[in-house]
Amino acid sequence: MAAHTSLKSAAVALAVTMLAALPAGAETKGPVTDENGVVVVPAGEPLQIGSFLSLTGADAALGIDARRGVEIALEKIGATYKGHPVEIVYEDETCSPEGGQTAATRLASNPELVAVLGPSCSGAGRAGVPILWQHKVPVVGVGPTSPTLTAPTRGPTFDGFVRVSFNDNATGKFAADYAFKTLGAKTAATLHDGSVYGEQVVRTFEAAFKAAGGEIVASEAVGAADTDLRPVLTRIGTKKPALLFAPLYVSTGAYLVRQMGEVASLKDTELLATDPILAPAFLTAAGKAAIGVKVVGIDFRPETLGPAYQGFVETYKSKFGEPPISSFHAYGYDALGLLLAAVDKAAVEKDGTLYIGKKALNDALHATAGYDGLTGKLSCSALGDCASPVYAVWEFTSEQPDSYALGTNPKRVDK
């Protein structure tokens, strides 16, 4: 069996190499001809789907939560698709460009992958998606929110990317409106950690805040692994901003809220953070300093998302013994569902064998319209944005990680 599989994969690898040598030529296998190549899943063989998520490190909660969503979606279909067992191959992208590159390279080396779910983080996506698209493997993003990934300028290397997670163009704009109109801040400072996600959301926030009539008095950055933010906070403090907008990940975010209290010149400055820190791990890391921190994030409460989501959360709790650990579980669930819906459209079945044209699958993904997901109706744009997010502002009310529950801790404060 093993020998058979490796022979077969060697044959497919050879085919892929030949294909790469002749980029213009279309490939025909069985009844399907596709200019990007055809994935063949013989009868009884597994349908293989790759996945790269942030599974270790400080931001492991993002990826583990999404993986649990994928697992629940998989369980719902009995882990089979049209008689083929569905196999998901997970890789760890460590929420970094290097991790994304490694994970994508590993996944790309498997020519039988139909598509890839992931990544969790934008930096990993920017590095990983082009590697997978070299092999014409489409990617369904479950966590990356950076606008560049679906911007008109994203370039052909991102042609194979759609995402069920939201686009930070909307995040930055929502945050700026909230800061300017609801909080009444006329001056703002921004701080990011050099990550693709942080930098992009800061740029959209700045543009929207200025457009609303506010003034950006400081625009600062730190390194992703920095622990001592007090010098940069002192620098920001010299400008006396009314608001500090800081889209940071868990670890740096916790340093920020703890150390902000130690910088006297910032005591009248309000902090506005973003959704990566909506996780119990942030409460552990930040302690009492977390109380009162305002966070822009998606409204993921069961009462907003409807009965399907309520059932999902119950399944999640009984399967994993705890409530959702970040806000990416539903994206994981939707990503697999959306992918299989596209496979339905693109795949041709003949004598129990599935023939999936790679271009056909990617086109089907991009043509998704009105897919009924947990996170709402998903319709993908030509550039790959599929989500229809409902934003909200949250505020932490307790530093106990056990008490984390969207709705009470943090509670919604913008309505």
């Binding site: 270790t56 492991a60 950055a221 730190v222 390194g223 010098p231 620098r235 010299t238 703890r258 890391a285």
Partner: protein
């Protein structure tokens, strides 16, 4: 190991020669003599210097110009108040005292064994995690003694681990005279990281808030968090104790003797193995203390934090002159201050946006600059005979 402790080993290099060359002209009138002496010295330098010296001189001059231009421009910008500059100093000293404690372990081991213990950063990390086990009940008691006990637990954990590493991983290679101990140190570093990861997971763990250290001390225009003063003070006390130990005890004397010349020390009846174990033990105590102090300031710790901080500690040791104890202390503080002052004092003058992203570049840039001016480090000795 201490500056000036061994004058015989100092280089009898250029300076006396130049003095002799200049001294030949003493008979002439004062001014003329001085000018001529200068002229001759200059001619002499030009005759003896190679193109490498010229390049180094150009490099040094341009660096000086660059650094002073940055400083002056930043001061001209006048963005920061005096209180801000003082705050930067306090941040720098806090971080610097932690670097200094770590760098002591590197420098002492180097002094005694001529080996760089790359696992030392992970010994530091292990101390922070060792104390984490008892942190919750101790912090709950709410007394300052509990914090001291926490430091003691961290120090004991690191000391035990450091001594164990020395016995198991370094001693068998000590007389091989190859790169084996260095490679071994890197291996030990991984072992420590992944052991802690196994016990505590990959995510960050956090120390709880410590009420006794909460609060702010008001010093004139400056508000300094109590915890920072505590950390600086505790680090200074630990370094003071170490200094007394090395300079005024029998064990310290044997340590210095082994550092000077291991074989001769052994001939004098000093048990070198015991001294080496002792060196690792006190290096571990310093690292463990640093680990807990770091956790008190920054609260979050994770299994892989030892690497980056360890490299900083090593850089501090090199900055001060590796093998030199006061040098390591000074190097740590210089590095800490460079990180907190550097971006504000140098980069903002050039109008570089978001200068704090380049904090590490400044710190390591400073290392390069200092080594260009003083290849042996701030307190480093020039040795006539290279000791191996």
């Amino acid at each position: 190991m201490t500056p000036g402790a061994s004058p015989v080993t100092r280089s009898s290099g250029e300076i006396p020669d130049r003095a002799a060359a200049a001294g030949g002209n003493h008979g002439a009138g004062m001014d003329v003599g001085k000018a001529a002496a200068l002229h001759i010295a200059l001619a002499d330098w030009r005759r003896r210097s190679t193109w490498v010296d010229m390049v180094m001189l150009a490099l040094r001059v341009s660096l000086l110009v660059l650094v002073s231009a940055g400083l002056l421009l930043s001061l001209a910008h006048n963005e920061y108040s005096a209180a801000d500059w003082l705050s930067f100093a306090v941040f720098g000293l806090t971080l610097g005292s932690i670097y200094a404690l770590i760098s002591l372990g590197y420098t002492m081991v180097y002094g005694v064994l001529r080996m760089i213990n790359f696992a030392h950063g992970d010994v530091f990390m292990a101390g922070a995690f060792g104390a984490l086990i008892v942190a919750d009940p101790l912090i709950a008691t709410g007394s300052l003694f509990a914090v001291l006990a926490l430091i003691a637990v961290g120090a004991a954990t690191s000391a035990a681990i450091a001594a164990l590493i020395e016995r198991v991983a370094y001693r068998p290679f000590r007389h091989r005279g190859t790169l084996a101990p260095l490679i071994c140190a890197i291996g030990v570093s991984f072992v420590l990281q992944y052991t802690v990861r196994g016990f505590f997971g990959t995510g960050s763990r956090a120390y709880h808030d410590i009420p006794v250290l909460d609060g702010v001390v008001i010093l004139g225009p400056l508000q300094v968090p109590l915890v920072q003063l505590f950390v600086i003070l505790a680090a200074l006390l630990a370094m003071g104790a170490l200094h007394l130990l090395v300079q005024h005890t029998r064990l310290g004397a044997s340590m210095r003797a082994v550092a000077e010349d291991r074989e001769t020390a052994a001939l004098m009846g000093i048990n070198a193995d015991r001294v080496v174990t002792f060196t690792f033990l006190i290096g571990g105590v310093m690292a463990g203390t640093a680990g807990v102090l770091y956790a008190l300031v920054f609260k979050q710790i994770h299994a892989f934090m030892g690497f980056a901080i360890g490299i900083k500690g090593f850089a501090a040791a090199v900055l001060g002159g590796i093998g030199n104890i006061p040098g390591a202390m000074v190097g740590g503080f210089v590095l800490g201050l460079a990180e907190s002052f550097g971006p504000a004092a140098l980069l903002s003058g050039f109008g570089i946006p978001a200068p704090y992203q380049l904090k590490d570049a400044i710190a390591y840039g400073l290392l390069v600059i200092i080594l260009i001016f003083r290849p042996q480090g701030i307190f480093g000795e020039r040795l006539a005979v290279k000791r191996m």
